[in-house]
Point group: C2
Chain length 479, copies 2
Amino acid sequence: MEMPRPNPDIIARKAELVSRMLEVLPADAVISDPSETRAYECDALTAYKCPPLAAILPSSTQQVSDALRICHAMGVPVVPRGSGTSLAGGALPTADSVILGVARLNDVLDTDYDNRFIKVQTGRTNLSVTGAVEEHGFFYAPDPSSQLACAIAGNIAMNSGGAHCLKYGVTTNNLMGVTMVLMDGTIMELGGAHLDAPGYDLLGLICGSEGQLGVVTEATLRILHKPEGARPVLMGFDSNEVAGQCVSDIIKAGVLPVAIEFMDRPCIRACEAFAKAGYPDCEALLIVEVEGSDAEIDEQLETIMAIARTHNPVELRQSTSAEESARIWLGRKSAFGAMGQINDYMCLDGTIPVSQLPFVLKRIGEMSKEFGLDVANVFHAGDGNMHPLILFDANKPGDLELCEAFGAEILKLCVEVGGCLTGEHGVGIEKRDLMVDQYAPQDLEMQMAVKDVFDPKWLLNPAKVFPLQSSESHRIAAE
Amino acid sequence: MEMPRPNPDIIARKAELVSRMLEVLPADAVISDPSETRAYECDALTAYKCPPLAAILPSSTQQVSDALRICHAMGVPVVPRGSGTSLAGGALPTADSVILGVARLNDVLDTDYDNRFIKVQTGRTNLSVTGAVEEHGFFYAPDPSSQLACAIAGNIAMNSGGAHCLKYGVTTNNLMGVTMVLMDGTIMELGGAHLDAPGYDLLGLICGSEGQLGVVTEATLRILHKPEGARPVLMGFDSNEVAGQCVSDIIKAGVLPVAIEFMDRPCIRACEAFAKAGYPDCEALLIVEVEGSDAEIDEQLETIMAIARTHNPVELRQSTSAEESARIWLGRKSAFGAMGQINDYMCLDGTIPVSQLPFVLKRIGEMSKEFGLDVANVFHAGDGNMHPLILFDANKPGDLELCEAFGAEILKLCVEVGGCLTGEHGVGIEKRDLMVDQYAPQDLEMQMAVKDVFDPKWLLNPAKVFPLQSSESHRIAAE
């Protein structure tokens, strides 16, 4: 993946940059030794690597503002970084950039159970937000598989979802307000602990903007009451297409489970070996979970299981205990890790209309043969958010490129059937060149014009989201 | 309310404008006779009136594009208008403007029950969207009280809500994609029939932008399965504060009814006289509705009614038939009309944290005495979206101004307790001067900079949303 040519003038001024950073940040928050900056050379898309010029770890909104003001004055690009779990290269540095890590911004600032919100600094991990409120019976709904590690900052940047977003929506549906610092150091407040603010919905715009419009340092998040109970059902089928049809039928019937997860045989086997989840050995597995009181759960599962039976499942089994349920979910949430123990893989993230699931799964199978690369499928089927994992051998010359070409074809297929390039991982560097398949030129130009407003010098998270040539020409026009 | 001085050059070129409009629109779609343009002199905020220079009624996206291109070239301001039900003056013309009415854009373009969406032209009324899908068991969730008349275009412009939005969210939560025409005639596609598009969320930005960024001509809307059943409960209390506390306790308990509506005595009496809804004669009335199967409804109502009993209700009664439920809702949805038969009133639209309801209702009562104007309260209590109706006498000199001053104080109170100026009616002209109470100068400037991107000449829906002086200075800077 091509990256912009680093600016040699900036690299030459590294000493000045570091010394000015030390004026506004404590010494242990400024990392400039190449042996240490290497820790920031990539995120979870490890196929691409580049150490930054320096990394900083501010611990307050004011420190973020001070540091950004300096970078802005010096023309230094800044790459905001949550926990570095991006699967799309959303936090990949350039050689002339400063990584702004939010890891030390991890305080809980306010909890309000009457009005059902929590206010946190955005370096806090997703799961520890729920951790802060669960003893009062609340939880924070978006649950990316990486929730043990991933930061709220990254969740906001990518508008992250998760298995349970079928019912609860993605980050944007659970985000009430933010404090954000613009590239020039200006501190803004957007939204707050109330419904829908007046004027333009800049909060909605910020969510999913991949750290290119500002650095979000604080967030007010909607918290929800934990449901009385929840119960997953395992449904095994002897083909991907039939499992896809079952998902489509459940959604069409108007039942809304809290999650419908899909795994095919390669994933089932890897997860079972890893987590001993009790998965059946079959072609395709659905995990369907419903919530409520025992009576409500029974009623919903009756409808759902009746639909499943019309598709001749090879397995149809309700969880019988909380411990069994936890194991079933551990298996699913470990899928990427479990696959990684067996193979190099590239994880895609396309979204399609649910009714297209059987067709798209069939086409992916055919394309897998054409490209000669295996594919494992694991994804949030209920909302059509697919995660095909293309397996390849990183040590085999040409295999990564072949894998990238195959991935691009799958994502173009998603767009063709009325879907889109990404559900929750973001565009990052991975999909920036495919944006022209999703958008007409005038639509892309309008997005870049919005970027011009928030970050006129195009210094924030460079070389992401837009085709490199387009974003470079905007950046140069601003100079 | 001050309006910008009309541009005499434009008014002088009216004949040219009309003749150019007739080149791209059928004769019956161009209205220029002053006796006919008067029909567009105001919306539902009838305190302010100004006939436009002309009105046009295009019936396709292409016609909208052609007409806007001409207005853009001639520098003519354009005021988009749905059905003219805005309570905030969102469709108030200026004397040098063209009203662009979307009433003839009312086709259903696509229905897809497998993927649960409908695509419509935006002149279609809110209720007729549900009308187009209900025989298949579906409905469109946002339900403004004006839903019989109001257009989807206006719902998108104002991010409209309604009584049942406590459970289903407001327009932005049910909007999947739009076709929008920019002021210069460019046609854009945003979002679509899929989850979360890549890149910046311009769709989220458009929703609620009050027709100032573009004219939305087509919309893809999420449709939902009708619940098995629904049942409202009437709860009467002997004070507003106690009713407010009951709402707060229901929300805090984690039950999520589909609606919690609040009415005080003046509203109860007016609605009862109008709709014979069977309301008790008491100080404050809550209508709490839950949905599901009979068993689910019983279970939820058990919890909710137990909470209500701790507040010593003077009435606590479940609806016993579909017909009774319909009458209960007819009463609530007729509230504005019923009040209008008795009094002139100004309807406010502020949002507050739910826990602040008792305090804010008490303060409004006190302020009512200070200003010497009565207030009737009717609102979506569950999400803290208040609609105080200030009663005044339009024929009494000074009463409107007093009413405006009182209204401003109430909205400032909403902001002070952590809420905001509008829930669903929008800023329009009514609240534009209060935006400085909600936002810091740099936050407002950023919103106006976004307007610069979409409509650099500031021709779309002039004099709304931002303080007149600020928006005029942006407009003049662009000249």
